[in-house]
């Protein structure tokens, strides 16, 4: 395999990795803060893409407004779900959250399928790349689509901002305090349940954002999140459940590794991540960046 092909694969891997990173970042924030394993994350990613498509169809909104609006809509929906449904399960085994969100996934996928068929007369829809991002960039030895480079760049920025907010700011300190010791935090006059709802909203908003970003690359269809979320779970296990740094680094790394692996031996592409996961589990059961389990 020549260098040029390898480099293209690395870039393609980074694009896939960007989606893994963005999705597992949202999962990490939600799990790390709220101990919710959000199985619905893939469906919310799909809702992000679908909302962008629907906004375009119904109001003629383009990519840029959708990039802002769709994550907000998905985030708001997430907060509604947290308030009305998930909050009923706090104090029970985290498994029940997984089960509830699994049920909601089935529901959402079919609901969107029905809406797409009845409102837009399609079951999957193309989404055009914004004009400014069409075309390719010459990176010296390879040319690569502008839009895909934009996805990588934006994802890096979002990940950095999220990490910064949670680790370095007062807001992050409140969030961490709210989740580590709710009752003490409450005694400082902080409304913990509002923060919990907010954090969940941001987490699923990130999934929505990933969905909008994905719309021009993959076709928009009700089951687009179904397979992706499983891979993302593997990424999360490899990186360490709840670890923000782990999810971002592992997300990109897995993307690149799978792409390069696929170039060398194509049938392994989709399995590689799970093989990797098995190896990591043998060596470090809590994941590469995870704290030892059993703490929760």
């Amino acid at each position: 395999m020549n260098t040029q092909l390898l480099l293209i694969q690395v870039f393609n891997g980074l694009v896939n990795g960007a989606f893994y990173a963005l999705l597992s970042l949202g999962l990490a924030v939600i799990f790390g803060m709220l101990r919710i394993v959000n199985f619905m994350h893939g469906a919310l990613y799909m809702l992000g893409a679908f909302t962008a498509f629907a906004l375009g169809q119904a109001f003629g909104l383009g990519f840029w407004p959708a990039l802002i609006l769709a994550p907000l809509i998905v985030g708001a929906l997430g907060m509604l779900l947290e308030r009305t449904l998930l909050s009923r399960l706090y104090g029970l085994e985290p498994s029940y959250n997984l089960l509830l969100t699994f049920g909601l996934t089935l529901l959402t996928q079919d609901l969107v399928k029905q809406v797409m068929l009845s409102q837009f007369a399609v079951s999957s829809a193309p989404y055009t790349t914004p004009d400014i991002l069409t075309g390719v960039v010459n990176l010296g030895s390879v040319v690569f689509p502008k839009y895909r480079l934009f996805v990588i760049a934006l994802t890096l920025v979002i990940c950095l901002v999220t990490w910064f907010v949670i680790e370095k700011t007062r807001v992050g300190a409140i969030i961490r305090a709210s989740t580590e010791n709710p009752s003490v935090t409450r005694s400082f006059g902080i409304d913990v349940s509002k923060w919990v709802t907010g954090v969940f909203g941001v987490g699923v908003g990130l999934a929505g954002l990933a969905g909008v970003l994905a719309a021009p690359i993959y076709s928009v269809e009700p089951y687009m999140g179904a397979e992706l979320i499983i891979t993302t779970f593997a990424v999360v296990v490899i990186g360490g459940l709840g670890s923000i740094l782990g999810s971002v680094v592992t997300g990109f790394a897995v993307g690149v590794l799978a792409a390069v692996g696929a170039a060398i031996y194509p049938p392994i592409a989709n399995t590689l991540v799970f093989v990797l996961m098995a190896i990591v589990l043998l060596v470090r059961p809590s994941g590469l960046f995870g704290l030892p389990e059993g703490t929760r």
Binding site: S95, L98, L99, L100, L106, L107, T108, V237, M277
Partner: protein
């Protein structure tokens, strides 16, 4: 998990109740192919045993496996392969079950060291490995097309081209599988298993090795799931890629919850209800995913003891 009822009978009345359940469900299973078409009835047996197997792990060990399709699916494929190569039905079923057991050894070894949600994620990821192997290894599994057109040779004068005959043969297999599950739960092993579930530290302090109990429970569960998978293949005469999909793992969780976890009968009842519901929905205009998703959500939110668990709790209070 305080909402889940205990299985140990506290008095004779509960023992009577258990016997009543067993006789009632047994009779129902005997006449089932007269009430609904036999292929659906056989589906209920296969999924019912699958759900019982899953619940041995979830209800009685507290381990939520989200990857049980791996065992159901691998056995389904292996059974089909053996049938296609001319083996008799019992040999094919045993072979399928064995394949699930062999597959379970590394998966169980790697996953039982984790607890809670970690366990769920890890089992899910292993099942995905199996899924991708089934998808890619097209020479053996048929890939997206699956396998079909394999033989189901007659046995002792039983003509397996008849779906009612197939049903009654599978009813016998189901009874054996269910008995194994029953014996497991009622045995000292099962009691220790539940002790580990309820308080791992305490169980360990009185001399039990939690990891070993979980491993054994995992193996029994995987073996029974394999037996159920082989039954499914035998019943349908086709294997599709769906048998290893993650949605299959999710469906068995749903059936178990709907029927009632840790009730032993519950999962089988839940499987029956889900399949009947789906059968009704396919002929109606209501979309299957929306209704089953809704049922699932309602059960998790308000109805965690499931149908059998709720009825048992209600009878117990009277």
């Amino acid at each position: 998990m305080t909402t889940i009822p205990r299985t140990a009978p506290r008095n004779d009345r509960e023992r009577t109740m258990r016997a009543a359940w067993m006789i009632g469900l047994g009779l129902l299973l005997l006449i089932l192919p007269r009430l609904i078409y036999p292929v659906l009835a056989l589906d209920i047996l296969a999924w019912g045993l699958f759900a019982v197997a899953f619940d041995l792990l979830f209800g009685f060990s507290g381990l939520l496996s989200f990857g049980h399709a791996a065992f159901w699916g691998s056995s389904a494929y292996f059974t089909a392969y053996l049938l296609a190569s001319g083996q008799s039905v019992p040999v094919a079923m045993l072979g399928g079950t064995l394949s699930a057991l062999v597959l379970a050894v590394p998966i169980a070894y790697l996953s039982v060291r984790s607890a809670g949600i970690y366990f769920s994620m890890i089992t899910l990821a292993f099942a995905q490995m199996v899924y991708f192997v089934a998808l890619q290894w097209t020479d053996v599994t048929g890939g997206e097309n699956g396998l079909q057109g394999f033989e189901r040779p007659s046995l002792f004068g039983l003509d397996f081209s008849n779906s009612t005959t197939r049903y009654y043969f599978c009813l016998a297999v189901f009874a054996v599988g269910f008995y194994i599950a029953y014996r497991t739960v009622r045995s000292p092993f099962g009691q220790a298993q539940q002790a580990v579930r309820d308080n791992e530290q305490r169980a360990q302090s009185i001399g039990y090795n939690p990891v070993r109990f979980k491993f054994t429970a995992f193996m029994i569960s995987a073996g029974l799931a394999g037996l159920a998978g082989s039954m499914y293949t035998f019943g349908h005469g086709v294997v599709s890629l769906d048998v290893t999909k993650w949605t299959t793992s999710g469906e068995v969780v749903m059936m178990t919850l709907l029927g009632g976890t840790a009730t032993l009968f519950g999962p089988a009842v839940g499987a029956g209800l889900v399949l009947l519901l789906r059968d009704q929905l396919t002929t109606s205009s209501l979309p299957v995913g929306i209704v089953t998703g809704l049922v699932f959500v309602v059960v998790v939110l308000f109805f965690r003891a499931g149908v059998v668990g709720t009825v048992q709790g209600w009878l117990r209070r009277r």
